[in-house]
């Protein structure tokens, strides 16, 4: 690992990113996010992604709680949470999660409890996938930085 040059890490990163883009997990907004990162905020992307996972974790927890009771489900509130999740997901370029949210929201608007549960399962699956891949990406990024001799703090832990 340590012996690898920065070029190798960059290659890995681009491969992973290409995969994620190909799968539709990410879209161009993630690139936009990367472009926002500059000298004044070297860790911008990782910061934003960290915030995103922290916040969306709460949202998913809330949604799951709401869906626990079939009788007392507040679909309107679920819709609000989903809207929130859609907004933040699309802002970081998490295209797939966003699309699942759209379907989820449609189910919630129809008060389709079963549909909501299915959507939630899909959403959590995609969410985890995204999180793992982005974590992987940031680890590579960290390695790249280390290899390049620049010290940056770990992006994700």
């Amino acid at each position: 690992m340590l012996g690898m040059g920065a070029g190798r890490w960059e290659e890995d990163m681009s491969h992973l990113l290409a995969l994620l883009f190909h799968q539709g997990v990410l879209d161009e907004h993630f690139m936009q996010l990367q472009q926002l990162q500059d000298e004044s905020s070297p860790n911008f992307v990782s910061e934003v992604i960290s915030i995103y996972f922290r916040e969306s974790e709460k949202l998913l927890r809330n949604i799951r709680t709401l869906l626990l009771d079939r009788e007392c489900t507040d679909y309107r509130k679920i819709g609000v949470y989903l809207n929130h999740l859609m907004g933040s997901s699309s802002s970081i370029g998490a295209n797939l999660v966003r699309n699942v949210c759209v379907a989820f929201r449609a189910a919630s608007e129809h008060c389709n409890w079963a549909g909501c549960l299915r959507s939630l399962a899909v959403l959590e699956h995609e969410y985890c996938y995204l999180k793992n891949k982005l974590h992987e990406l940031f680890q590579i990024e960290q390695q790249r930085v280390l290899a390049a001799g620049v010290r940056y703090h770990p992006l994700l832990q």
Partner: protein
């Protein structure tokens, strides 16, 4: 994570400040050189989504704006209140747990008059429409792109440009602005023409001074002189406001008292003051001459102004616009809405007005062709096309006035009367129409000629009308009804001066629309003859010349056109016969009632409307026939008018009630639909 954040804290933009509002932009921004604009634009971002907040902050900084972020709407609101003038634009999320983004938008619009950009991941049309309706100047759909943010400075500039215009809806504002400008120009022209008389200026000055007194308070309170009060008022709120103003009377309507009457939590005196200011400007703009007239007769003007301004202004503008043909009916409606300030509320009111105008215009157009039914459906279009026709009627009115007034020389009457008439017209179409009608009946020919010149005068004639009525049989009848209808009406008898007469008219209008209706009826009778001239003058100075021309042939038509606006219905009825008059009046009122959303208008409409909407068509027919037998019609009409007036008076109360109730019910769409029809 914590470590990362700490590291990033060094950056002003860094996280950690998400939950708390950062207020560093204000002063530093002020230092930015103007030439660097839009760099340094002070932006407040409110979003409970911290991820988006962080990204937006960074994006906005890339755009070289001064960014303040806030994750809680309530904090943002308090921040805005504490640091008024420290922000140029607000970007707010729609869904926030502590406060709905639209609520924040409304409050910001009311209190700070700042452009607010809404954003949400929900890009559905209904959601965007909601934002527009609430007065958002833009609606961004997440994910927000930096390209979109680079352009937000335009909203700040546009807002400043539109300050004088009271534009609130960016979405529809652009179109409406253009339209409004056109309308303003038209009004200006008419005003200028009127100004030739000399009476116009005086009233205006008085008016201005009056406004200054009241406005002064507002301005004092508003530190940001550049920012005018923004009317983000909802329809309901605006209705409350209007009710309060009506209750107090325009002259006595002070922001503080209005606020007390409205009793709306969260509404500040500044908001009310700014709205009142806009409202006045709106009325002024609409009425133009009307206000001047009122201003001339201070005592009368005061009471009349409030009511007149509200209803008449809107109508006048529409009428003039339609008459001129410069503005399409729809545009007029839009203008009305804008004038109202509130999109929703305004929309309703404007819509209402526009329909009336449209009707009037349609009537006019119909009159020419003698097509009764068509008038309603295509009034707006017709009006535009046959602008000249409407003008003639106005001229007629002025003529009528002179003739009716024994003391007033025809010439003088024409001049002064025209001025006053214009004002009256603007104040209350119904009144004007009535006046015109009456005048027309009295001195159709002579008056018409002079009147055409004094298109503006026509309005005065409206005022005069009451006096004229006494002189002429018709006039006498008319005056009687007027008095009955409006408490103020009494002033009308004061033939001594056009202004006074006009004022009286306004009073009538103000006091009670029903009164106006009867008056208009009487006027209509007169007006039919002189209608053409009056109308032309009324609508615009330019048209004045045309009015005289058309007066001969158009007279009938013109009268009809006028009637159509306010008393169009009345006219028709008068011309046809007494029996018809009531019917006609009713239709007119109905139509008006629809549009009556505005106080005066509503009332007038309500009166007319009581009878029935249908009358408009009837009226048209009536008008046509009446033209043939003017004399007969006049006499009969007068009698009828008196009856009608009385009837109207009775109906008035009911009508007013109806209007009130109806106003809320009338959606802007409906109005628009009516107009389009």
């Amino acid at each position: 994570m914590a470590a990362i954040q700490k590291l990033s804290v060094q950056n002003a933009n860094a996280g950690g400040s998400y939950s708390s509002c950062r207020v560093d932009a204000g002063e530093s921004t002020a230092l930015v050189a103007p030439e660097l604009f839009p760099a340094g634009l002070r932006v407040l971002v409110v979003d409970d989504d911290v991820t988006c907040l962080k990204i937006l902050e960074h994006m906005l900084q890339k755009c070289r704006y001064h960014v303040t972020t806030c994750s809680e709407a309530l904090k943002a609101l308090s921040l805005l209140r504490e640091r008024k003038g420290s922000f140029d634009v607000v970007i707010s999320d729609v869904h926030m747990p502590d406060m709905d983004g639209f609520k924040l938008l409304e409050l910001v619009g009311l209190e700070m008059d700042l452009p607010v950009i809404m954003m949400s991941a929900d890009g559905r049309t209904s959601a965007v429409m909601r934002g527009i309706k609430h007065g958002a100047c833009d609606y961004l759909i997440k994910p927000v792109r930096i390209e979109e943010l680079k352009n937000i400075w335009q909203h700040v500039v546009r807002k400043k440009w539109n300050e004088s215009k009271d534009v609130e809806h960016s979405g529809s504002v652009e179109d409406s602005d253009r339209q409004r400008r056109v309308g303003d120009e038209a009004e200006y022209d008419s005003l200028v023409n009127e100004g030739t008389d000399g009476s116009w200026k005086t009233p205006k000055k008085k008016r201005d001074s009056k406004d200054d007194e009241e406005d002064g308070e507002l301005e004092n309170e508003d530190p940001s002189a550049s920012k005018k009060p923004r009317v983000v008022w909802s329809v309901e709120l605006h209705q409350q406001f209007v009710n309060a103003v009506n209750q107090l009377g325009i002259d006595k309507a002070v922001p503080k008292r209005i606020l007390e009457l409205m009793n709306v939590p969260g509404l500040t005196r500044e908001n009310v003051a700014s709205h009142l200011q806009k409202f006045r400007l709106y009325l002024k703009r609409i009425s133009g001459v009307t206000q001047h007239q009122s201003a001339l007769s201070n005592p009368f003007c005061n009471p009349v102004e409030p009511n007149t301004k509200v209803g008449s202004l809107g109508r006048l503008d529409f009428h003039s616009l339609t008459a001129t043909g410069q503005i399409p009916p729809q545009t007029l409606a839009v203008l009305h809405a804008e004038l109202l300030g509130r999109p929703s509320g305004n929309v309703v009111l404007p819509v209402i007005d526009s329909p009336i105008l449209l009707q009037a215009s349609s009537q006019n157009s119909k009159f020419l062709p003698v097509e009764k039914e068509i008038a309603f459906g295509q009034p707006l279009f017709q009006c535009q096309s046959g602008i000249s026709k409407p003008f003639p009627p106005s001229g007629i009115n002025s003529q009528d006035v002179p003739s009716s007034f024994s003391s007033w020389p025809s010439n003088q009457l024409g001049v002064t009367g025209s001025n006053s008439e214009l004002g009256d017209m603007s104040n209350t179409q119904n009144n004007n129409l009535l006046m015109q009608m009456l005048q027309h009946q009295q001195e159709p020919f002579n008056l018409v000629v002079s009147e055409s010149h004094n298109a503006i005068n026509v309005r005065p004639s409206c005022l005069v009308v009451p006096t004229q009525l006494p002189n002429n049989l018709n006039g006498g009848n008319c005056s009687m009804p007027v008095n009955k209808n409006s408490m103020v009406v009494a002033p009308q008898p004061s033939n001594s001066t056009f202004n006074g007469s006009s004022i009286t008219f306004d009073y009538n209008i103000l006091s009670s629309q029903p009164t106006n209706v009867p008056l208009s009826m009487g006027r209509v009778a007169d007006g039919d003859f002189k209608k053409i001239g009056l109308l032309s003058s009324y609508s615009t100075p330019a048209s004045v010349s045309s009015p005289s021309v058309s007066s001969g042939s158009v007279c009938t038509n013109g009268g009809a056109g006028w009637r159509l606006h306010n008393s169009n219905m009345n006219f028709d009825s008068l011309n046809r016969s007494p029996g018809h008059l009531p019917n006609l009046c009713i239709p007119g009122t109905e139509v008006k009632s629809g549009t009556s959303v505005n106080y005066e208008h509503a009332r007038n409409l309500g009166f007319v409307g009581k009878g029935t909407c249908l009358p408009s068509r009837f009226a048209v027919d009536d008008i046509e026939s009446p033209t043939n037998d003017w004399n007969n019609i006049k006499t009969s009409v007068f009698d009828d008018v008196d009856k009608v007036k009385q009837e109207l008076n009775l109906d008035f109360l009911e009508g007013s009630k109806v209007d009130k109730t109806m106003l809320p019910n009338f959606p802007s769409n409906d109005f628009m639909g009516v107009l389009s029809k």
